[in-house]
């Protein structure tokens, strides 16, 4: 590894030399086709933009906020920023004003790169409030013609300036690239966390590169991979995957046309490598289930039958048991009739390796994909560790664990049961937040905040957030995440929040999957007007009831969890929304916040005999407007086994 370039600017230059112009570095679906750029194009674009930035006065260690959907230009901007020794600060594109304000202000950004008018507008609001923000650069000029400001510049104009600047200062670019050192900051990734303000995780070139290479080596990934870049650039997963790994391996990153067309674009590209949080996998599964329910009777039968076969086979394969001949034959038939076409339709036919990361995934969901023949594996990591802690190895899969520690990672479990680790990707600290850094990083050991243990196979098993794992009043272990994930296997349940800490029994909030349930309701001619209305239909309660019953049954089979069966539930009147702070941008439930906000509901769940509860809710629209609605939520009891 020593002779390999360790800073991303150098890796980029290296790639541009190494790979022929016919090999695509990055593609973007635009104007109906996949516009491809070679590594040389990549470098040229980056250089022009970097020089343009330099012309605008971008200095070493300057920060640049980057916000928008995955566009090549944004990746180029990120790289250009690094080339000048600056630090990119990617932001969640759906972040609301308050969050953006905090991060941009906190990270002291002088520059910002926005994708389009929407993002530019957000940044322009900030500019009034944060004078430090000097320039806003936008990629897509549509709708921006009336904005006439010196500090608002088009991406291509910056590049034009860069070309001019480059002519005048021919050595400037290489000089600044060479001045970037592996241990310089390469990115500040803000994690929203489930509590408090976002914290800026400082990572260096070396860390990102090491971890990226570690991943590549683990799965033997090479330059011929195709990946889809559609996850938020602010998420460390995307950064490692679409930027770190892509540059280190030289494989191709594909940017979809728009968020609406991801599934279609993915099918076209046929990625060989996927990295996605569980919610993506859940969503896809939900879509599959909806479509199957809409399909002809005979197809439904076939699907369910063969999925059962596949599940059986996969269970045996995971546990390394021989598969009976009959099942093997059935599996092959199923592969022809169902699995292969299904996988192809999902755009996953060419997948070599797929990861679910960022959250625990429900074992049923996990097994669903694996049983289709997709090599889905679990990965455990955090922004603070450059996502690099542990992951499953081919042939050594366990649906309940996240695999053995990755090479170069040490893991230990604290007395309190918290997972601590030392990873080459461990961060330098939180930006401008030494207290938090000190809390998390102790002697090089990173406190993950997750409760877990090592299994006999040497796999790390994560139970839940350490602070969330608790006991019911009767002393039964209560791991809300575990129950919620089980619930989320249902296509009708989008989110669930389980309660039970120090209570007599477990009760849950259910956030229904509006699309799936609406579809289900329409097929049964159930009229409804809105999410709230739909959620309170008795038929929907029945529908969810069955799903909970299923979970209860499965829980009852585990003696340790038998008592944590769900006793009561209610369907929420609104979807849990990161804009309202109920979940994070990566869709982690912010338990404490919910407990505060919906305390009344929780109390109702634990008040015997109470069958409904009145709520008043404030909705926040995209543009920040709010409106209040009132509703009576039903509460239902569930049988337990």
């Amino acid at each position: 590894m020593a002779d390999l370039p360790m800073t991303f600017p150098q890796i980029l230059i290296h790639n541009a030399k190494k790979f022929p112009p016919t090999k695509a570095a990055i593609r973007e679906k635009d104007y109906g086709i996949w516009q491809s750029y070679s590594w040389q194009d990549y470098l040229d674009q980056v250089r022009d933009f970097a020089l343009g930035l330099a012309a605008l006065g971008f200095k070493r260690d300057d920060k640049m906020a980057i916000i928008g959907d995955n566009r090549p230009q944004l990746y180029w901007g990120l790289a250009a920023c690094q080339c000048l020794g600056g630090v990119p600060v990617p932001l969640y594109q759906d972040a609301i004003h308050k969050e953006l304000h905090y991060i941009v202000d906190h990270s002291e950004c002088r520059f910002a790169l926005a994708e389009d008018q929407e993002q530019t507008d957000k940044l322009m609001h900030l500019k009034d409030e944060i004078p430090r923000l000097e320039y806003i650069i936008y990629d897509d000029p549509r709708g921006l013609r009336n904005y006439k400001h010196d500090w608002l510049i088009a991406f291509t104009d910056v590049q034009e300036m860069g070309r001019k600047f480059g002519k005048e200062n021919p050595d400037y670019f290489m000089d600044s690239v060479n001045s970037v050192k592996p241990d310089d900051l390469s990115i500040i990734a803000y994690t929203s966390g489930t509590t408090g303000n976002p914290k800026g995780v400082m990572l260096t070139h070396r860390k990102i590169a090491d971890c990226s290479r570690g991943f590549l080596a683990w799965d033997n990934l090479g330059e011929n991979e195709e990946v889809m870049a559609y996850l938020p650039m602010a998420w460390i997963g995307d950064h490692i995957f679409s930027y770190g790994q892509a540059l280190c391996a030289g494989f191709t990153v594909n940017c979809p046309e728009s968020t609406a067309t991801v599934a279609h674009d993915q099918k076209e590209i046929g990625p060989t490598h996927i990295f996605a949080p569980p919610r993506i996998w859940e969503n896809i599964l939900t879509q599959v289930m909806i479509k199957i329910e809409d399909s002809a009777w005979i197809k439904q039968k076939a699907f369910h039958y063969f999925m059962k076969v596949a599940n059986r086979v996969e269970k045996r394969r995971i546990s390394n048991q021989p598969v009976p001949l009959k099942d093997r034959i059935l599996y092959q038939i199923g592969r022809f009739i169902i699995y292969a076409p299904l996988v192809d339709n999902l755009g996953m036919r060419k997948i070599k390796v797929a990861y679910t990361a960022g959250e625990a995934i429900g074992p049923e969901i996990f097994e669903f994909y694996r049983s289709l023949g997709i090599n889905l594996k679990q990965l455990y990591g955090m922004t603070e560790s450059s996502a690099y802690v542990s992951m499953q190895k081919d042939g050594d899969i366990d649906s309940e664990t996240v695999g053995p520690p990755a090479p170069g990672v040490q893991v230990k479990i604290s007395e309190k049961g918290e997972v601590l680790y030392k990873s080459p990707g461990n961060f330098l600290g939180y930006y401008k937040n030494p207290e938090a850094t000190a809390e998390t990083l102790e002697d090089g050991w990173l406190h993950s905040g997750d409760a877990g243990y090592m299994t006999e196979r040497g796999h790390l098993k994560i139970i839940d957030r350490a602070k969330d794992v608790s006991k019911l009043k009767d002393g039964t272990m209560f791991a809300p995440k575990y129950i919620e994930n089980k619930l989320k296997f249902s296509p009708f349940i989008k989110e669930a929040v389980a309660h039970g800490m120090d209570r007599e029994y477990v009760a849950v909030f259910i956030d229904i999957d509006y699309g799936a349930v609406a579809n289900w309701a329409e097929r049964r001619h159930i009229a409804f007007t809105s999410y709230t209305d739909l959620a309170q239909k008795p038929q929907i309660y029945d529908l969810i009831y069955d799903e909970i019953l299923r979970v209860n049954k499965s829980l009852s089979e585990d003696p340790k969890l038998k008592n944590s069966q769900i006793k009561r539930y209610l369907l929420l009147h609104k979807e849990l929304n990161p804009d309202d702070g109920e979940i994070t941008r990566t869709r982690k439930v912010r338990r404490r916040f919910i407990a505060e906000k919906y305390g009344k509901l929780i109390e109702a769940l634990y008040t015997e005999g109470q069958e409904s509860v009145h709520v008043e809710a404030t909705f926040t629209y995209e543009d920040g407007r709010t409106t209040t609605m009132r509703a009576n939520l039903r509460i239902r009891d569930v049988e337990t086994y």
């Binding site: 109906g32 996949w34 809409d294 009739i337 339709n345």
Partner: protein, 352 residues
């Protein structure tokens, strides 16, 4: 179900606009070509080649010609068989009487037919729909009459010209397989040309005229020119097909071959096959050329049981019944049915 489209992406407009953008279709097409160029000549019986496949190719070509006119440009013509006759006679005259080489003769026949067709297309500039359709019958009857009455064309009172021996560069086209290759090559070449036309600007203009003619004109489509071009191209195909049919199959140009019933059958081919599709021309031709023969073959088994008179009528009943049945199953033609099945397979196991 069989389609594997994952990873089939287009990074240039050229590949996006290819005739077969889906890999499996490309494969299927290659297999069909292999069948047509290798398997059939090697393994099919002479009977099959001469009686079913050659006429099938010729009628497919002719049906495609009519499809250009009726299916793409929306100008229904039910006098199309007459144009095949023009092609047949003119190719025989060019080749047999004037000694022009075979291929140029056939092409020349196409050009002659196109000229005649354009002339008969003139009413389309004013008349539309069924009125035009019926008016095109005029071309059928006038051409028939001219061929029968002008001895220079029909070669005397017999009204029939025998096919001369065929040579291409001195190489005799005298066996079934050689004739087959002549028909096949012409068919493939012109089908390709035709497909290119209908997917290009001309095809779009035609479809625009078919869908809403005034809007097309307002957008800048030259209605008159493009309608006449449709007639010219369409009848060009009819001419080529007529020439091939007579050269490679019937062996004589005979006006009775191309009577109004053949015209109706051609119309039937494109409707049953699928209007405005290339594939439909093949399906339709297959339906109308092979099905009666197939039924006839099948019924031969009952000759001892059922009186022959009734048997022959049963053939008509089955054929008519199948037409109705196919229309009920898929009014937009077999090509649409094929596409529906294909789409289902592409999305399998999903419904959409």
């Amino acid at each position: 179900m069989f389609y594997r489209e994952c990873g089939n992406f287009k990074d240039s407009y050229a590949s996006d606009m290819a005739i077969f953008p889906i890999p499996l279709d490309r494969w299927g097409f290659t297999v069909m070509l292999f069948l047509a160029f290798v398997v059939i000549p090697l393994f099919a019986s002479e009977y099959l080649i001469t009686n079913i496949i050659i006429p099938f190719y010729c009628f497919a070509l002719s049906a495609f010609g009519l499809n250009i006119l009726a299916g793409y440009a929306g100008q229904i013509s039910i006098g199309h068989a007459a144009f095949m006759a023009v092609g047949a006679y003119s190719s025989f005259i060019l080749y047999g009487r004037y000694g022009i080489p075979l291929i140029p003769s056939i092409l020349g026949a196409g050009v002659v037919t196109a000229a005649v067709g354009t002339f008969f297309g003139l009413p389309s500039l004013r008349i539309k729909g069924f009125y035009l359709a019926i008016a095109t019958l005029a071309s059928q009857f006038i051409i028939e009459w001219v061929i029968v009455h002008v001895e220079w064309i029909s070669g005397g009172v017999f009204g029939t010209i025998q096919a001369p021996e065929m040579y291409i560069f001195g190489w005799p086209i005298n066996t079934a397989v050689r004739k087959y290759f002549l028909a096949l090559c012409m068919m493939v070449v012109f089908m390709t040309f035709g497909k290119n036309l209908v997917r290009g600007q001309m095809g779009r203009n035609w479809m625009a005229i078919r869908d809403i003619d005034y809007a097309a004109e307002i957008i800048g489509v030259n209605l008159y020119r493009d309608k006449l071009i449709a007639f010219a191209v369409s009848t060009f195909y009819a001419g080529i097909a007529g020439a091939l049919l007579c050269f490679c199959y019937v062996g004589a140009a005979n006006i009775e071959e191309f009577n109004v019933m053949t015209s109706f059958a051609l119309m039937g081919m494109i409707i049953i096959g699928g209007l405005g599709t290339v594939l439909g021309s093949f399906f339709g031709a297959g339906f109308f050329v092979t099905l009666p023969i197939l039924i006839n073959h099948s019924l031969a088994a009952f000759m001892d049981v059922v009186p022959s008179d009734i048997l022959s009528n049963i053939e008509a009943i089955i054929f008519g019944g199948l037409i109705v049945l196919f229309l009920i199953v898929e009014p937009y033609g077999m090509a649409r049915l094929w596409h529906t099945i294909k789409d289902k397979l592409r999305l399998w196991p999903f419904p959409y």
